[in-house]
Each structure stands twice: as structure tokens, then as C-alpha cells.
């Protein structure tokens, strides 16, 4: 078994896949909802993000897709929660940089999200690992515009 694959599928990722945090949507208009999907592979993700006084106070997600896509939604939700909007956007950028093998600040991005560094070896899977994060980013940017 190659170490690249072991890195792609770390136990932490599979744990989030099997037992995701913050899964399930709410019927609550104070959450901003973003639905994204990847038509070429069928991954489908809805993210709901709640901001209170400039702080991300809750994130929910629900979707179908591969383990990288579904688990990354769970990891995104615990990574961004309780950060300010600006911090959240910085964390998202650091996550993207990690996936494309660019420099990122581990003071900004830490915790379970680091498990996804192995995705950089599988460029075809970057879109799986970023779908939920892109949805969260859109929710933050939308709220910023308002």
C-alpha cells in the first residue's frame, strides 16, 4: 500500500466520514444556505452557516459524495466554528493553499483539517476536498456583501 494513499485516507478523515459532526440541515432563516454540486462526479453539498455579531456561531451540512467530500464538510464545520468572519476566510484560503502545495500558516490552519494535506498528491481529488469549504466561503462572502 502506498504511503500517498495512506496519507489521503487518514484515520481521522474516515472517522469524520463515518461519524460526521454538525450533519443535518435546520429550518432556520437566520442560517445562510449555500448548495453546491459537482456535475462531473455527482458530489452534492449543502452548507448552512450562522453568523452572530461577526462570529460564525454554527455550521450545518448535508450532502452526498465520496468520503473526502463528505468528511471535509464535517471537518470544515468544526474548523470554522467560533471564528470571526475574517478569520474564517483566512482559514479557508490557508486550506486551499495546503491542498495545492503552497505555503500556508499552521497558526491559521490547524487541527483535523491538516489531515487533508495528502490530497495535494491527488490533484483530481482537490475538488472533492474543497466543495464544502467553497460553500462555506460563499456563505461568508455573501454575508460580507450585505
Amino acid at each position: 500500500m502506498s504511503s500517498h494513499l495512506e496519507n489521503l485516507y487518514r484515520q481521522v478523515i474516515m472517522d469524520h466520514y463515518k461519524n460526521p459532526y454538525n450533519k443535518g440541515l435546520v429550518q432556520d432563516p437566520t442560517y445562510f444556505t449555500v448548495h453546491l454540486h459537482n456535475p462531473s462526479c455527482g458530489d452534492d453539498m449543502t452548507v448552512q452557516l450562522k453568523e452572530t455579531n461577526g462570529v460564525i456561531t454554527d455550521i450545518k451540512h448535508q450532502g452526498t459524495g465520496c468520503s473526502i467530500c463528505c468528511s471535509s464538510a464535517s471537518v470544515m464545520s468544526i474548523t470554522l466554528k467560533n471564528h470571526t468572519k475574517a478569520e474564517g476566510l483566512d482559514i479557508i484560503q490557508a486550506y486551499y493553499h495546503m491542498l495545492t502545495n503552497e505555503h500556508y500558516d499552521q497558526k491559521i490552519l490547524n487541527g483535523d483539517a491538516l489531515a487533508y494535506h495528502g490530497v495535494a498528491q491527488f490533484p483530481a481529488r482537490i475538488k472533492c476536498a474543497t466543495l464544502a469549504w467553497k460553500a462555506a466561503e460563499q456563505a461568508l462572502l455573501h454575508n460580507k456583501e450585505e
Binding site: 494513499l5 466520514y17 462531473s40 462526479c41 459524495g65 465520496c66 468520503s67 472533492c128
Partner: protein, 401 residues
């Protein structure tokens, strides 16, 4: 028996990727050296336009381009003027739909199926929206096949168009298209055949089939990308309005109107895909030099060998064990195809994961997506073994979590 070693020597990609296990021919085939060479010959020795120049180079380019049309016509047993060069199957099928829709009205019926590639069903879905003609789906049998009986059950006096695949790009099934064409003609309907997956695997005789339109792509039968073919009966093509207007397709131009050339040129506006057509002609000659009997026997043997090995693996599902054309569509149980695909990718086994541009049949199978492996002339038993080993590895790897 095909000598795969000898065949591989003619595919330069193996020089650069000696460990390549290429099982994605249904998406696009590999390209042999003689095709690459003839494309190169056009660009390095000729490189000029066709049908226009009054000089030697242009004559030579035109001769090669039109010789490719002759080759395609012979390949399909069609007439020269019934072969339109297009960008690919998608462009061919769209051309028929967008032009032929002018002959349809509300209340007419268009028969298609859930087995179709998007390029075979979506153009007619649009036609249905534009004209009010009704889109009718042939019910598939328990295996997911189009049967003559099922086709009869949806064929009516209102049926005007039948748009069906010859070979499904997901299930690999061969549609009983000859019987369907005969039945459709009894009702006065025309039949549009998507032959993208049939062309690399079987002899197609449009005259014997009596098909009205038939399309295939160059890049799936060892030719270049960006070239495809639309076959159409001459009297039907000449009745149809072009969908693109410009140079080379026009006859007389006046201030208040213009007239079109006869087929095929009325459908080839602008500078055509010259290198692509020439490359396609060469690809067809390559395939003919091997012969469809040899190709079928080789692919069939590899397919059966692989299926037997897959039967012994617990934890996978094959959706089309009775496929006639060497397409294996399957999933590792409880593992998303994109997760499994990364295992194959690591082992340099190229296959397709997704819905294969055929969401309707993926939904019919009640899957989010599937894995698909396809065999062709450059595949050998070692490819099959490495494919099977990767499946076993995927099953083991994901079971560990």
C-alpha cells in the same frame, strides 16, 4: 489472436508510460503512431486550407480531406455525399436535432431511452421544449436493456423521431437497432443512431440497417479529438436547413438571401477540421487492417477473463455482467467510486468514475456514480490482472476503516 505486443509498439504513449493500464477507451481511445504521423504530415507539409486555394498545396490538402470522407463512406457503407464531418458525436446529434426540429410540431412524439448518453437525449429534450413534441422513454427491461417488445409498446402513429444508442456507454449492451429501425419506418418515423460506442467495436452498415442518421466520434476509434461524423440519408440531409452559416457552405449570395450547397458541404461552414478528418481516415484504415472479428474476439476474451476473476471477489457489484462489448460497470460496495478511483490511479490503472455523461442510467441503477472499465486492442491479460488486483486492494483498503 491479436498480438498485443505488436499493437502496443504502434502506440507511442506506451513508450512514455510503460506501466500504463489504460481501461478508459469508452471515454477516449489511445492514438496510434500512423494517425499522429498523418496529422503531423498535414501540419508540417501542407498546413493550408481546403476547397479554396488555386495552388498545388491546397489541392493536395483537399484531396487528403476528401479521401478521408471516401474512407468513412466505405467504412459505413454509405455514399460519399452522406458523410458530414463535425466536431464529434455530440455536434452530429445536435446538428440533426436542431435542424430536424423544424419538421416537428406539438403532439408529435420522440422516442429515446434512459440508456442514452447526454448527447443523444438532451438535444431532443430541447427540441421537445421548443416544439411541444413529446419525449417518450422506452421502458428498459430488468437488465437495463432496450428490447424490441418494449420499443413496440411506445411506438405510435405520432412517433416522428427515434433517437437511440447503438451500444450503451455505461452498460455496453447492443440495441436491436435493425428491428427498431424497421418498425419505426413502418410508422414513418426517422431513426437517429448514436454509434459512438458501436463504431470501435463492430461493423456498421448504414445501408443494411437502413438508418436515417448515425453519428460517431474520431477520438473513440483511435482518431484525433475534435473530429466526428454525421451520416445522413442524402434526401433527408438535402431537405434540412444548415445550422451554421458562413464560408464554404453557401452557393449563391445576394443582398436579400442566399442558397446552400448540397450535402455534405451545406453542413460544413467555415474551415473544416482538416487534420482531424485526415487522421480519422487513417484511424479507420488501422482498424480495418486488424478487422472487427479479431477486435471482437480479443475484447470478448479479456472481458470474460476479467468477469470470471471479479466473480471471486466479495464486496463488489457488477451492474452489466451480460454486456456484449467489453464494458464493465461496477462499484465496490459501500465505497464511493471516487474513493475507489484513487486506488486505481495510484496503480496507474486508468478507468472512469462518475456518471459517464449518462445520469439517467446511473439513476436507473440507483447509484450516485459508478466505476467503468473498458477493454480494447492494446489491452492484455496483464492489464486485466492489474485491474483485478486493484479492485482487491480497494476492497481491502476501505474495509480496514
Amino acid at each position: 489472436m491479436l498480438d498485443v505486443k505488436l499493437i502496443r509498439q504502434q502506440f507511442p504513449i506506451y513508450d512514455h508510460n510503460p506501466n500504463l493500464v489504460y481501461l478508459d477507451t469508452a471515454a477516449s481511445s489511445l492514438k496510434p503512431k500512423n494517425v499522429i504521423d498523418v496529422v503531423d504530415h498535414y501540419y508540417s507539409k501542407l498546413g493550408v486550407n481546403v476547397h479554396r486555394g488555386v495552388y498545388g498545396l491546397s489541392y493536395e490538402a483537399t484531396d487528403l480531406y476528401e479521401a478521408a470522407r471516401t474512407t468513412v463512406a466505405r467504412f459505413l457503407n454509405a455514399k460519399f455525399e452522406e458523410i458530414v464531418f463535425t466536431r464529434g458525436t455530440t455536434a452530429s446529434l445536435n446538428l440533426v436535432a436542431s435542424s430536424y426540429q423544424k419538421q416537428l410540431k406539438a403532439g408529435d412524439e420522440i422516442i429515446t431511452s434512459e440508456l442514452e448518453h447526454h448527447s443523444s437525449v438532451l438535444p431532443w429534450m430541447q427540441v421537445s421544449k421548443n416544439t411541444g413534441a413529446k419525449l417518450v422513454y422506452v421502458p428498459l427491461n430488468a437488465e437495463g436493456r432496450i428490447t424490441v417488445e418494449a420499443f413496440k409498446s411506445v411506438l405510435t402513429d405520432q412517433t416522428k423521431v427515434v433517437a437511440l444508442t447503438y451500444v450503451s456507454n455505461v452498460m455496453g449492451y447492443v440495441t436491436p437497432i435493425k428491428e427498431i429501425i424497421d418498425l419505426a419506418h413502418q410508422k414513418g418515423a426517422i431513426v437517429v443512431v448514436d454509434a459512438a460506442q458501436a463504431a470501435p467495436h463492430m461493423k456498421i452498415d448504414v445501408t443494411a440497417l437502413n438508418a436515417d442518421f448515425l453519428a460517431f466520434s474520431g477520438h473513440k476509434i483511435l482518431g484525433p479529438t475534435g473530429i466526428g461524423v454525421l451520416y445522413g440519408k442524402k434526401h433527408l440531409l438535402n431537405k434540412m436547413e444548415p445550422t451554421e452559416f458562413g464560408g464554404d457552405m453557401v452557393d449563391q449570395v445576394e443582398l436579400n438571401g442566399a442558397t446552400w450547397k448540397d450535402t455534405p458541404y451545406r453542413f460544413e461552414a467555415g474551415t473544416p477540421i482538416i487534420s482531424g478528418a485526415i487522421g480519422l481516415g487513417r484511424a479507420i484504415e488501422f482498424i480495418e487492417s486488424i478487422g472487427f472479428d479479431e477486435i471482437h474476439a480479443h475484447v470478448h476474451a479479456l472481458h470474460q477473463y476479467t468477469l470470471e476473476k471479479m466473480k471471486a471477489i466479495d464486496g463488489i457489484t457488477v451492474f452489466n455482467p451480460t454486456s456484449e462489448t467489453g464494458i464493465i460497470t461496477f462499484n465496490v460496495d459501500f465505497v464511493h467510486p471516487h474513493d475507489a478511483a484513487s486506488i486505481f490511479d495510484q496503480n496507474k490503472v486508468c478507468l472512469r468514475a462518475g456518471h459517464h455523461c449518462a445520469q439517467l442510467i446511473t439513476k436507473w441503477l440507483k447509484q450516485l456514480a459508478t466505476l467503468r472499465a473498458t477493454f480494447y486492442i492494446y489491452n492484455d491479460y496483464e492489464d486485466a490482472d492489474r485491474f483485478v488486483e486493484s479492485i482487491q486492494e480497494a476492497v481491502r483498503f476501505f474495509k480496514a476503516f
